[in-house]
């Protein structure tokens, strides 16, 4: 009995430890700062997984950088597919006093905890030493990131949320170009609804990204660029009108819009169950792979109210994503991090990311004729629209407090289900934003 009991008790951990030894999980080169041959190793943490276009381009850029700096620097990508998990992991690492060497995070003016941690590298010295490099970034973005005279991050990307639409479905509804006003869009959406096609692909789960893009355009169309600017009350006529129009859009959307997530909504658009979706340029790689004739998908600026409250062609953008880096005690490693960021934000890399990665960076990006030829039909239009935009506004869901963000899905769902009218929606949002 004794032997029968003890043998399994000893064997199980022994076998497990054996398997652990067989499948050691410590990645090569990550045990210390220096890799083989005295190279300085820099780990780049992002959501650029190698199965998406921007991840493939990042891997190629890293390979090229490593080749150019063989024996000196070694950059490695540590990709986490899920954005919220990535952000949580970065926060945990910063809290534990061990931030990743280089990492991508979402800038939030209401939450500067990461910048204020004191664990991030100050880039101001390196930007001032290289004015040409500094000039590649928008001064507004650098000012936004700055904190007490320091610049704790490098602008990464700030994607414009634009209207992607199936031109063949639009023609089916009797239009050659995308409607310039929301009233015209509703007319088109009602026509298509009778044919079983939704007007706009929408969703209310998670951060309600697609719905909040539409909401932000509707609110700014009604109340101008400052409709939901920080400090403005959200219990306003513009928000009430946007809420009423969003309710109508949800009625004219797919049946799974209420409760659906990003994947459901974008899938509905790609499967032509919806005429349009308001999304960022990362959608382009899915369009290229999943739509039979990709160039039938066109890109347009969102409609306006047509009353001059905002300039036609303006854009709503995602929040700014920023590349942060750990404050390093080792000067050699700091140099490696700076060298990598300069390489990654160079025009050549930015062009590669935009054209091949479908991911425009928040730096000056000048496409040569060959690059423009190589870019997808949608990316060409995205860059044209973004360059010509008379103004841009950050999407509303990114500007409100985290408490209000958490309540957005339930507020939108109750609006869609008729449990809450536009007045109650605006009052509820204002209250959540003040808590």
């Amino acid at each position: 009995m004794r032997r029968r009991t003890l043998i399994p008790l000893c064997l199980v951990p022994a076998a497990s430890l054996g398997l652990v030894a067989c499948g050691s999980a410590v990645p090569e080169g990550q045990e210390g700062d220096s890799g083989d041959g005295g190279e300085v190793t820099v780990t780049v943490m992002s959501n650029f997984t190698s199965d998406v276009a921007r991840g493939q381009v990042l891997d190629e850029l890293i390979a090229k950088f490593n080749e150019d700096h063989e024996g000196e620097y070694q950059v490695e990508s540590a990709a986490e597919p899920d954005w919220p998990t990535l952000q949580q992991k970065i926060r945990s690492m910063i809290s534990a006093g061990d931030p990743p060497d280089v990492f991508l995070y979402n800038y939030n003016p209401n939450d500067r905890s990461r910048e204020e941690s004191g664990a991030l590298m100050d880039w101001s010295r390196y930007l001032d030493e290289d004015p040409e490099w500094k000039a590649r970034f928008s001064p507004a973005n650098l000012d936004a990131i700055a904190l007490d005279g320091a610049i704790p991050g490098i602008p990464g990307d700030q994607a414009p949320a634009l209207v992607y639409y199936h031109s063949d479905l639009l023609e089916q509804a009797g239009h050659d170009s995308f409607p310039a006003t929301w009233d015209d869009f509703f007319t088109v959406a009602e026509t298509l609804k009778s044919e079983g096609v939704a007007g706009l692909a929408m969703m209310t789960a998670d951060d309600a990204w697609h719905t909040m893009n539409a909401f932000s355009y509707l609110a700014t169309a009604a109340g101008g660029r400052d409709a939901y600017a920080p400090g403005e009350s959200l219990d306003s006529d513009a928000i009430r009108r946007a809420a009423e129009d969003t309710r109508r859009l949800l009625e004219l959307s797919t049946p799974d819009a209420v409760g659906g997530n990003y994947a459901v909504s974008s899938r509905n658009f790609l499967a032509k169950q919806a005429l349009a979706v308001i999304d960022g340029p990362w959608l382009i790689s899915s369009i290229q792979s999943d739509v039979e004739d990709p160039c039938t998908v066109q890109v347009a600026p969102a409609p306006t109210a047509g009353d001059g409250a905002v300039e036609p062609g303006y854009t709503v953008t995602d929040s700014l994503n920023v590349w942060g880096a750990a404050e390093q005690a080792d000067e050699e490693k700091t140099e490696a991090v700076v060298a990598w960021m300069k390489y990654f934000t160079s025009n050549d890399s930015a062009v590669r990311m935009a054209v091949d990665g479908e991911y425009p960076l928040a730096v000056q990006t000048e496409l040569g004729p060959e690059d423009a030829e190589r870019a997808s039909c949608q990316m060409r239009q995205v860059l044209e629209i973004a360059n010509a935009a008379p103004a841009s506004v950050v999407q509303m869901g990114r500007e409100i407090t985290s408490g209000a963000q958490a309540q957005l899905p339930s507020l939108l769902e109750s609006l869609a289900l008729g449990q809450r009218g536009p007045d109650e929606f605006a009052a509820g949002l204002q209250q959540a934003n003040q808590e």
Binding site: R4, S24, G97, A263, A271, S286
Partner: protein, 269 residues
């Protein structure tokens, strides 16, 4: 007769509620993307294993499965060894024994999210970040109260007369533990083991935070490669899901009688 009929109806409804999502998942894992969104409830046009082979090709699912198995088995073994010893010591009355019992169970009341940063800090300082052994040790700590509670509840049903008899026969304190208490507590330990393996297998939060690359990630973390924020291939993800849940389903199917028997064995003295 009406009562029997009612019982069957209730059983039938519960079986449907339980099985339908699982069957739908398995069926959908054989479909193409167009089929899934075009007719979500229709059977696939062909029962091809294309999604399964593609899922295995795109990401190292077998490595994820191995890591999950290592983490679950190692954590469970550590918890069971500690639980058996702790429960045996608490069979005896000593000063602060009640407080010790409360202390060992206290972990059940703690919200694990609050422990994320200190655990990350500790694991990182020990050089165990991004290792399966680090994750297994964290699970051993986190899930110890669950295993301890099950083992202790079962061990407490051991008749004291048997222990007294062993003592009269000259068995030492440790010999009684090894030769009498542990063998008699095996059904309880087996129940705890099954629950612990399933709990560790399904854990996601700490697995996400404490591992970084495919060589150390568990199957729950690996699953998210198929459904990212910006891209989702549902049939592929469903095929990967079927692969990932298969081990726990098989364990439950094989040991379901044992689980039920062991859960009820300690209820009547």
């Amino acid at each position: 007769m009406a009562g029997k009929m009612f019982r069957w109806v209730v059983l039938g409804v519960f079986t449907l509620i339980t099985l339908l999502p699982l069957l739908w998942l398995v069926m959908s894992s054989f479909k193409s993307d167009a089929e899934l969104f075009g007719s979500p409830f229709a059977p696939p046009e062909s029962w091809s294993f294309r999604n399964y082979s593609e899922a295995l090709r795109e990401h190292p699912l077998l490595v994820f499965l191995r890591n999950s198995a290592v983490v679950a088995v190692l954590a469970t073994a550590l918890i069971l060894i500690a639980s058996l010893m702790a429960s045996y010591s608490l069979m005896h009355r000593f000063r602060l024994s009640r407080m010790t019992f409360g202390f060992l169970l206290f972990g059940i009341l703690l919200p694990v999210n609050a422990l994320m940063t200190p655990i990350f800090f500790t694991v990182n300082k020990l050089g165990l970040y991004n290792t399966t052994i680090g994750l297994a040790l964290v699970y051993a700590g986190l899930f110890f109260p669950l295993g301890f509670l099950i083992v202790k509840t079962y061990m407490d049903t051991t008749p004291m007369e048997i222990i007294e008899a062993a003592r009269v026969d000259g068995a030492s304190f440790h010999a009684i533990f090894r030769r009498v208490v542990v063998p008699l507590s095996m059904p309880g330990a087996a129940t705890a083991g099954i629950f612990l393996v399933i709990t560790a297998w399904n854990e996601l939060l700490f697995a996400s935070i404490l591992t970084q690359d495919e060589a150390s990630q568990t199957v729950q973390v690996g699953m998210r490669y198929f459904l990212t924020t910006y891209a989702a291939d549902y049939p592929l993800a469903f095929a990967a899901t079927v692969v990932s849940i298969a081990p726990t389903v098989v364990i439950y199917m094989i040991l379901s009688e044992r689980i039920v028997a062991a859960m009820t064995a300690g209820s009547v003295k």
